[in-house]
């Protein structure tokens, strides 16, 4: 157990704000803390380590508070100071980790950062991290989970920020990591421009990856399609409609035969000029060879009209054509 130190005032300019060895905080945005400190001052002192050679301080706990104090113009900040000889790199990191775990949850980027530091920086054994630290981070203790989270920290800054800001589940960044950097950037631009929800993100990535793999065309190339760009750039189209249109284009690329048959059937049905109270639909995904007829009526006269129309349809070439198509 580390001995508790009495807080002392350290000079702000002697704190090395660029040294992030102990930090697992993402993003380092400190606006709200700044507001709080500006109103009530710094209630909880920082924990810092003083380096022997330079005398500079490294922030062990409270980097966001330290940044806020600096921005507020504090010349000195209250901190508990540990000499380098008393606090190892790993010890300091774990101190910060446990201190944070006591009062907040880590987001997925931070979880990845913690795992990465424990594994790559401090060389902790993988099985120890899986067995002890994954549960501490609120994750299931398993190798697959470890390997899912570990590389997330390598993502580009803008993607990490977006993931935190939108609170996207780890399967999204994890999936983006399977793409080449160029394809990832192109996919991310689409995701963020359309502000897609999780299910749509996964669906779009499926369409894109499978089409790309099948046709040997990078995702970046697929998304460079003029039709897609035209939709994205059209300021007259509302965002939900843009999502629909782009989904239509991507699905058509991914399922050319299915969408081709759907279009033929739709065209055939259009040719029939059905009244609104009568609806004919093909079987889902064309699994089956029967058309479904639905109709509505509110008096016998209307029913007779529908029945007559159905009789006419039974002899029409259009219905035969649709049956042939499905």
């Amino acid at each position: 157990m580390l001995k508790r130190r009495n807080p002392e005032k350290v000079e702000t300019e002697r704190i090395d704000f660029e040294d992030r060895i102990f930090s697992a905080t993402y993003p380092l945005e400190c606006e709200r803390i700044k507001e709080s400190i500006a109103r009530i001052g710094l209630i909880q002192p920082l924990i810092v380590r003083q380096l022997e050679k330079t005398g500079k301080y490294q922030v062990v706990c409270g980097l966001r508070r330290a940044l806020a104090c600096r921005e507020l113009g504090f010349e000195k900040i209250e901190a508990m100071v540990y000499p380098e000889a008393e606090l190892s790199d790993q010890g300091g990191f774990l101190l910060g980790l446990f201190e944070n775990l006591g009062h907040r949850d880590y987001n997925d980027i931070e979880r990845s950062m913690v795992l990465s530091k424990l594994h790559n920086q401090f060389g902790l054994d993988q099985s120890l991290i899986i067995g002890e630290y994954l549960p501490l981070l609120g994750l299931e203790a398993g190798e697959a989970i470890f390997h899912q989270y570990l590389p997330v920290i390598e993502l580009e800054e803008e993607i990490k920020e977006y993931v935190v800001q939108r609170d996207l589940p780890v399967r999204v960044p994890s999936r983006l990591l399977t793409l080449s950097p160029e394809d990832r950037q192109a996919s991310f631009r689409l995701i963020s421009r359309l502000n897609l929800g999780v299910n749509r993100i996964m669906e779009f990535l499926n369409f894109l990856e499978e089409t790309s793999q099948r046709d040997g065309v990078p995702i970046k190339g697929l998304l460079g399609d003029r039709e897609i760009e035209a939709v994205l750039d059209d300021e007259g189209i509302a965002r939900p409609r843009k999502v629909e249109l782009i989904r239509y284009i991507l699905r058509k690329k991914r399922y050319p035969q299915l969408t081709g048959i759907e279009a033929q059937v739709e065209e055939g049905l259009k040719q029939m000029h059905l009244p609104p109270e009568l609806k004919i639909s093909p079987p889902p995904y064309f699994e089956g060879d029967e058309l479904k007829v639905e109709f509505q009526f509110r008096d016998p006269k209307k029913l007779k009209k529908v029945a007559e129309r159905l009789l006419e349809l039974s002899k029409s070439p259009e219905i035969k054509e649709i049956l042939k198509i499905i």
Binding site: A141, Q257, L258, F286
Partner: protein
């Protein structure tokens, strides 16, 4: 092909005195052995691994089968059933086919398992066949495992083949992708054993059937079995659709009949690649380079995804034409397909479950 060699053999207490256990240990000298009380002890080794499916295949568990060995092939009400029964003598397979459904079925139980209570199994089959003597049955061991992939270490066929040779109302199908047929040659099979191969174009074998022998080796093994008097079966299942599929599958049919006598072929099945949605995640993770998921798959009534009906029907028709070109009388059937697809491919629909029996009579 290289013989399967586990990293560790786990032997459950009740199985340690069985003959099959002795045979396996004799055939795998030098492999570490652990005796365990509970299969969970072995499962625990892989349960939390990054890829339990791969790691599980490296561990061989010898155990007793606690339940029934013989089960009806898991068809569905909406598909034409071919009245097949499966014998589960082992579960899991080391052949690493990207599309293998076992990856999903056995995800939580991914060890290689061999059941050592062979005597119980043979007794159960006898009771099963005796209960309905006037009916003919087709049974096979290739549902939850490849029928021959472990045969060099278990010697299982030396028991099961002569056993079926004595049966009057059943045939046994040994379904494989391997060329491990040495044990079969010279056995008394009584014309009651059909050795069958799953066939794919060499491109599919190279890309999606990682640890399996080439097409040529499979066909050579088939020829050896034919020469040893066995009837043969072939399964174009799963059929994979890709730009050159038609030419390459036609080539497989041509190669097949250049090697085997069509009159020695008991049946050929056709089945397009189909999968439960769960398998997609597994294939994507374990075989990220495979293009097998890039086809036009649609959800079907049984919850599986299949190629769009129009694509399946075209593939079946073309393969059927090619096969029938060599021998119009070979029984060809579709695996797990609807009446409607049968109708479109064959021009008729078997109207009852039993109507497929005529094919295999």
């Amino acid at each position: 092909m290289e013989q399967y060699r586990p990293e560790t053999i786990f032997i459950e207490k009740e199985a340690q005195d069985k003959e099959l256990t002795r045979v396996i240990l004799g055939n795998l000298p030098g492999v570490p052995v652990e005796y365990i009380e509970d299969p969970q002890d072995a499962l625990g080794r892989v349960a939390k691994a990054q890829d339990p499916i791969s790691d599980g295949k490296k561990l061989l568990l010898i155990t007793n089968h606690p339940g029934t060995f013989v089960k009806k092939c898991p068809g569905t009400k909406i598909h034409i059933c071919c009245n097949y029964y499966v014998i589960n003598a082992a579960t899991n397979c080391p052949l690493e086919c990207s599309y293998c459904a076992l990856q999903g079925y056995l995800e939580n139980n991914p060890l290689m398992r061999v059941f050592a209570n062979t005597g119980d199994m043979l007794n159960e089959i006898t009771r099963f066949l005796d209960a309905n003597r006037e009916r003919s049955y087709r049974l096979g061991t290739g549902e939850l495992a490849d029928s021959l992939v472990l045969d060099n270490i278990t010697g299982f066929t030396r028991d099961i083949v002569p056993f079926f040779a004595r049966q009057k109302n059943a045939v046994l199908e040994l379904k494989t992708k391997t060329d491990l047929v040495d044990n079969l040659i010279g056995l008394d099979h009584g014309d009651r054993v059909i050795v069958s191969w799953s066939l794919s174009p060499q491109r599919v074998i190279d890309e999606d059937e990682a640890e399996t022998p080439s097409l040529a080796r499979r066909l050579k093994a088939a020829r050896r079995c034919q020469d040893a008097g066995y009837q043969l079966g072939f399964h174009f299942d799963p059929i994979i659709i890709y730009p050159d599929w038609e030419k390459e599958y036609r080539g497989v049919v041509d190669q097949l009949f250049a090697v085997v006598d069509p009159l020695r072929v008991s049946w050929i099945s056709l089945g397009g690649f189909r999968y439960y949605p769960l398998l997609k995640r597994i294939i994507r993770r374990r075989f990220p380079r495979s293009k097998i998921l890039c086809g036009e798959f649609v959800p079907c009534a049984d919850g599986k995804l299949r190629y769009l009906k129009h694509i399946r029907v075209e593939a079946y028709r073309k393969l059927l034409d090619r096969i029938k070109g060599f021998c119009p009388k070979i029984p060809v059937y579709l695996c797990m397909e609807t009446k409607e697809v049968w109708e479109r491919v064959f021009g008729y629909t078997p109207d009852t479950e039993r109507s497929l029996d005529f094919l295999f009579g």
